[in-house]
Amino acid sequence: MRTNDLILRTTTALIAFILLGFSIYLFLAGHQSPGGGFIGGLMTSAAIVLMYMAYGLEPIAKIIPVNFKLMIPAGLLIAALTGVGSFVFGESFLSQTYGHFHLPLFGDIELATAMLFDLGVYLTVIGVTLTIMLTIAGDE
């Protein structure tokens, strides 16, 4: 028997949005304040898991048509390649650099290549958590 979960679904629509925003904030904040790829990725997957819990597997699979299993190697590849990238510039493995860029709207900001490594971590964490969750949940 299926119960009526109107309240859960309505609040999820609101909260998942805030969670996703917060997770991206955490991901971007990692360099100067608490946060980073790992916790950002966990928070994003928490938001997605909340959506799965409220709406079930199929609707979400339609909305987010991403194979989470492939996100793991994609993230790992990004992280590993940022390390290998320093070979090209004759630096030691895993060296990083930064520069100041002038972007419209944001103004002058500092961008570091450590961010790319973090992006790899972020994608891997999302991939791993959601693969675990969905493999267990999807067992019928």
Binding site: L70, P73, A80, V84, S92, F93, S95
Partner: protein, 495 residues
């Protein structure tokens, strides 16, 4: 800065990651894995020659100077072990398609395999104790994946024990590193060695040393911590057993060699005396296990344990000949164990059973495999022209120099019993009257694919023994560096 030191870690890592994307295309992923493994082998040979010529290569990752960043150190010992690892990896990757089922191959076998190689190479090359822990976890995670590959009931049961025990010892490892960090304030091995030299060995440092030894002893299957190993190594596929049996225990032994020749060297009356006794017990119990069973794979697995005992004996003796013997034995034992596992895999494939009592007269059908097995047995037991002999000879010389006659006798007796245990497979399985094989399921092409990689490894072993003259100078270099930790410290800290 020299990025050479990271190549043996990063090539298999990237290969493993890329292999995920087309894991279901068996043919493509096979060829990809074989090409990348050969590339990695070529790269490690190149680095080995570079290290022989120009000395230790150190890499400060991220450009951070020695005690602050993570250091990768390709000294002769580490690079020779990486090279040996890659030799057996090459044999395994060509063996795998013939040994695994399509389903196992598609279920990310090559990814796990590459991650295992990456973790093992990383553990050999790292110059940082916590990083060693991380690489241990990398290779253990990959081994968890490999041990359950196939998902049979017995595999699940044995992998549970394997995972629990390894988790426990990893936890102890972290605890030991935490203790060591709180005493010395560093986890960089070279700086640790330097600081411990300054304070001399106080009681607490000896305690931490013994704790670390027990961690590595669990990974390396030393008495009394070998009980988890035999059963969990026979359940996976032969090629996986070969990788495990050849590499995983040896990473534990390498860690003992590294920590107890570099860091904890100031209280040998306690530590090294303990090693000698444990080495003797390891040899005795391992070889008793090898004689106790009729399961061919289990015989080989039990033979890992006395070999580990021999290596530990050299560390316990802690003189020039003893350590040289340990290093030589370590290098040749990786290859011969992998070779024996691959041969036993072929044996099990052609007979369809691992019970020795059900085999007879196989030499009539597979003469090459039979004689290979015979030579493999001689290499393992240490019969003169072959490689096992030189390692054991050096070890026994070292023991006689120290006046340790008890362990000499135990060592010789163990060798005899090893020979007996392995020749039982030869005499019972290969000798005897010709019987008709049930050839229904055997594909000759697969059998050939199983025998050729093992043959390759066996010839490397024979070359190691007959051409010992070429290798001994390098073993000497390694031993001299092990006996003089200043060389390692200087190459890392550059003072």
């Amino acid at each position: 800065m020299s990025n050479l030191a990271v190549l043996p870690i990063i090539i298999p890592l990237l290969a493993g990651i890329v292999a995920v994307f087309f894991a279901k295309k068996t043919m493509a992923v096979r060829i990809f894995a074989q090409v990348l493994t050969l590339l990695n082998l070529a790269v490690s040979i190149g680095i080995a020659f570079y290290v022989i010529q120009y000395g230790t290569v150190t890499l400060e990752t991220g450009g951070w100077a020695a005690p602050y960043g993570i250091i990768l150190v390709a000294d002769p010992l580490a690079i020779f072990l990486v090279l040996t690892t890659n030799i057996i990896a090459t044999a395994s990757v060509f063996y795998a398609p013939n040994s695994l089922t399509h389903k196992q191959e598609q279920f990310y076998f090559y990814t796990f395999y590459f991650l295992l190689i990456s973790g093992v190479s990383g553990a050999f090359l790292t110059g940082d104790l916590f990083n060693l822990f991380v690489f241990f976890e990398v290779l253990l995670m990959a081994s968890y994946g490999l041990i359950v590959l196939g998902g049979e009931k017995i595999q699940l049961r044995e992998s549970l024990k394997y995972v629990l025990l390894n988790l426990f010892s990893s936890m102890l490892f972290v605890t030991a590193i935490a203790f060591l960090y709180s005493v010395t304030g560093t986890v960089n091995m070279a700086q640790l060695a330097e600081r411990i030299q300054e304070v001399e060995q106080t009681g607490i440092l000896t305690t931490i040393g013994i704790l670390l030894f027990f961690v590595f002893a669990t990974k390396g299957a030393i008495f009394p911590l070998y009980f988890w190993m035999p059963k969990s190594y026979i359940v996976p596929n032969s090629v996986v057993s070969a990788l495990f049996g050849a590499l995983l225990t040896k990473v534990g032994i390498y860690s003992i060699v590294r920590t107890f020749t570099l860091i904890f060297i100031h209280n040998p009356e306690v530590t090294h005396e303990l090693f000698l006794w444990l080495a003797a017990l390891t040899m005795i119990f391992g070889v008793i296990g090898a004689l106790s069973t009729n399961n061919v794979k289990l015989i080989i697995v039990y033979n890992i344990i006395p070999a580990v005992g021999f290596m530990l004996m050299g560390i316990g003796l802690f003189n020039h000949d003893g350590l040289a013997g340990s290093v030589y034995y370590l290098l040749q034992d990786i290859i011969i164990k992998a070779c024996l596992f691959l041969m036993v895999g072929a044996l099990i494939y052609v007979t369809g059973t691992s019970n020795l009592k059900k085999m007879k007269g196989l030499i009539h059908h597979f003469p090459l495999l039979g004689w290979m097995f015979f030579i493999g047995g001689l290499v393992l037991a240490g019969i003169p022209p072959f490689s096992g002999f030189i390692g054991k000879l050096l070890l026994l010389q070292g023991a006689i120099q120290e006046g340790r006659y008890v362990i000499v006798i135990i060592g010789l007796l163990t060798s005899l019993l090893i020979l007996l245990s392995i020749m039982r497979i030869f005499t019972r399985g290969f000798w005897g009257e010709r019987t008709e094989l049930d050839t229904g399921n055997i594909q000759p092409k697969r059998v050939r694919g199983l025998i050729i990689p093992a043959f390759g490894l066996l010839s490397v072993c024979v070359v190691l023994g007959i051409g010992a003259e070429w290798f001994i100078p390098h073993i000497e270099t390694i031993t001299n560096q092990l006996l003089d930790p200043e060389i390692y410290i200087d190459s890392v800290l550059k003072e």
